[in-house]
Amino acid sequence: MSDSDYSHILRRDPRGERIARNRLHPLHSTVAVQVAETLGPSGLLRKNPHAVGFIGPNGIKRIDRLKGNAIAITGRRNAQSSQEVLLPLHQVSEPDFTIVVVPDMVGGRLTAHDKDILGQAHQLARSMEAGVAGESTGAGAVMAVVFGVSKEESFDKAGVDRLLLLDGAEYEGYCPEQQVAALEQVEARLKPEYWLFPDSVHGGTDLGSRLAARLGERPATQAWQMNTETTICRGASGSTDITRDTPRLLMLAQECANPVDETRHEALSIEWAPVQAVLPELHDLGQVAVDPNAIPLAEAEFILAAGNGITNWEQFHATAKALGATEGASRVAVDDGNMPRFRQVGASGTWVTARVYLAVGISGAIQHMQGIGQCDKVVTINTDAGCDMVKRADLSTIGDAEKVLDELINLVDTYRQQALHNQNGEKEGAKNAA
């Protein structure tokens, strides 16, 4: 057994306690806690406030009123409380039925919406296992069908029992026809009990609608509450509630259920024979460059925000242009007239939802922090390592903004040139081959 198995057990040292209790013991001075009051060289009584008290077994500071004669329990509870708890593993060896979830996987990761839907899938599975009118249906597995490259690492904690990862070249870009063909195959082989899609603009609605039309199922859309019998969905652009029997295919609204948080799951990869490539009628030409400053600040994906620490404004605008970022600002930058009012981020400005927020020379006042509460990754450049923005940020660089931005522009420029060079090279290569 390893040492760590016992690390959480409180250990007492009876000998040490005995010595500490006996003021006449020769070793007493080494064991006893340092006394907080001493006579200074000038004869004045000095109090050392740091020496008052000791750290108790729960990691909380306790004031010692026994003049250093208390029993010192040297537990290591602290180490234990920071340890991650291992959640119990939920296993389904031979599933009797499957519930299929097709997550959005924005940027290759499960979104909060996806996790809610996986939670809903488990609720359904549990209530089916409990049985409808006395007859149980056996154990069920929740299967996630993921298209394209996945960066997600915690499928197990999100509640995926079975994982079908389709990441071939034919699933790159926008390819709903190919995806529907794959889902049709899943339908043919597994006959899932339910199909759950996120009702979202990230592609869940599109895919769900396509599959519903193909299978001839009448789906429930914008469903926000469901069980095995009835479903409530929003109708008439959100102004009515339609209560209906639960269909087999549902597109669920955000926060329809709580995500899984008490169990771990297997996330077993499934072997799948390759799906026949369909001849697509839609051809993806890729994303079009849009003017980042034309995107409303509230929905911009990547924001470069300026604060009081910016002195060279021309350089700031050049950086935003080079990075292709939407510009934002703190209130001070706006009040000083360096940025327009509609660029202000924060409590009295715009609440932003950017995936990446790069804050330059912003101290992180609470009014500003409120505005960036929903941002995924915060990066900051600041001269002050102790400011609140650095505490919130995922990556902070401590240094002068002007110099770092200068270097950043250089890096991006070389990156862009290289990409351009490679593209031209490819084109020439294609020409030569032809």
Binding site: N58, Y174, A213, G235, I242, R244, H283, V288, L323, I398
Partner: protein, 269 residues
């Protein structure tokens, strides 16, 4: 908008319209997205031979006055397939479209009244065997029977797609705003009624419909075992668990770290 010579002559467009519902007053009105579909249809038709190439089609009640607000955008007529209120609109629409075979069908993404499931374009596409392009913002060009379409993505992004005619597209809110509706032309426009056989939507008649209930707000439940943990959860500032701090590094290293993160997150395009 660019059309080449032979498509512009005989490009037939159908815009499907429905009766909208004002979000606060609940009154019938011109639907936002359907208005945009008509606007896009008008722009396409005007780039070609003229307005007569656009058919604006509704399946429902021809007496509905909100339909006139579409006509007020400069249409001579609105074609209406007369249906009872409980009837399913998809099969009569399919029948009509099979007979008239347009090149482009434009719809809204979701209706503002009724079930508002957004399934109409998909069901039509499935029955006609055509491709469907969801949430378009614009049609950039049509050349030799192939259209280049801009699709609206979340966060103000756009994606370019090519698709061969004929196709169905649903028009997003990001498309050009519909032009103003004028009262006089709206009243003068012709409502061309057509009769069609239809089936009652029996599935829907079993549903119950009520005004929307307010959804309960999700509570933040803290599953802490000890009082100290609960106290910490209730009082702690919402802060990240502390990220990487690069101190005393050269400027180049710092910039490189930021650049790597941006690249990894895929925001540099």
């Amino acid at each position: 908008m660019q059309l080449d010579a032979n498509t512009s002559m005989d490009l037939k467009i159908v815009s499907l319209i429905s009766v909208g519902k004002h979000p606060t007053s609940g009154r019938a009105r011109r639907a936002e997205q359907d208005g945009r579909a008509v606007e896009l249809g008008l722009t396409l038709a005007e780039a070609g031979r003229g307005k007569q190439n656009l058919t604006v089609l509704h399946a429902g009640d021809s007496q509905q006055s909100a339909l006139r607000s579409y006509a007020g955008m400069g249409l001579e007529s609105v074609r209406v397939i007369q249906l009872r209120e409980s009837a399913d609109a998809v099969s009569p629409l399919t029948e009509y479209l099979r007979k008239h075979v347009p090149d482009i069908i434009l719809t809204g993404v979701r209706a503002e009244s009724g079930e508002s499931s957004g399934m109409v374009p998909y069901l039509l596409a499935e029955k006609l065997g055509w491709p469907v392009v969801p949430r378009i913002a614009n049609i950039v060009s049509i050349k030799e029977g192939v259209a280049e379409v801009l699709q609206a993505l979340p966060r103000g992004q756009r994606r370019a797609l090519t698709v061969r005619l004929p196709f169905i597209a649903s028009v997003d809110n990001a498309a050009a705003e519909p032009r103003q509706s004028a009262f006089g032309p709206a009243n003068r426009a012709l409502m061309e009624q057509q009769q069609a056989g239809s089936e009652t939507d029996t599935v829907r008649s079993e549903w119950s419909e009520l005004p929307a209930r307010k959804r309960p707000k999700r509570l933040k439940v803290v599953k802490a075992k000890t009082a100290a943990d609960r106290f910490k959860a209730a009082t702690a500032k919402p802060q990240g668990s502390g990220g990487k701090v690069l101190k005393d590094k050269t400027v180049t290293e710092q910039a490189q770290a930021i650049f790597d993160l941006l690249l990894e997150e895929g925001v540099l395009r």
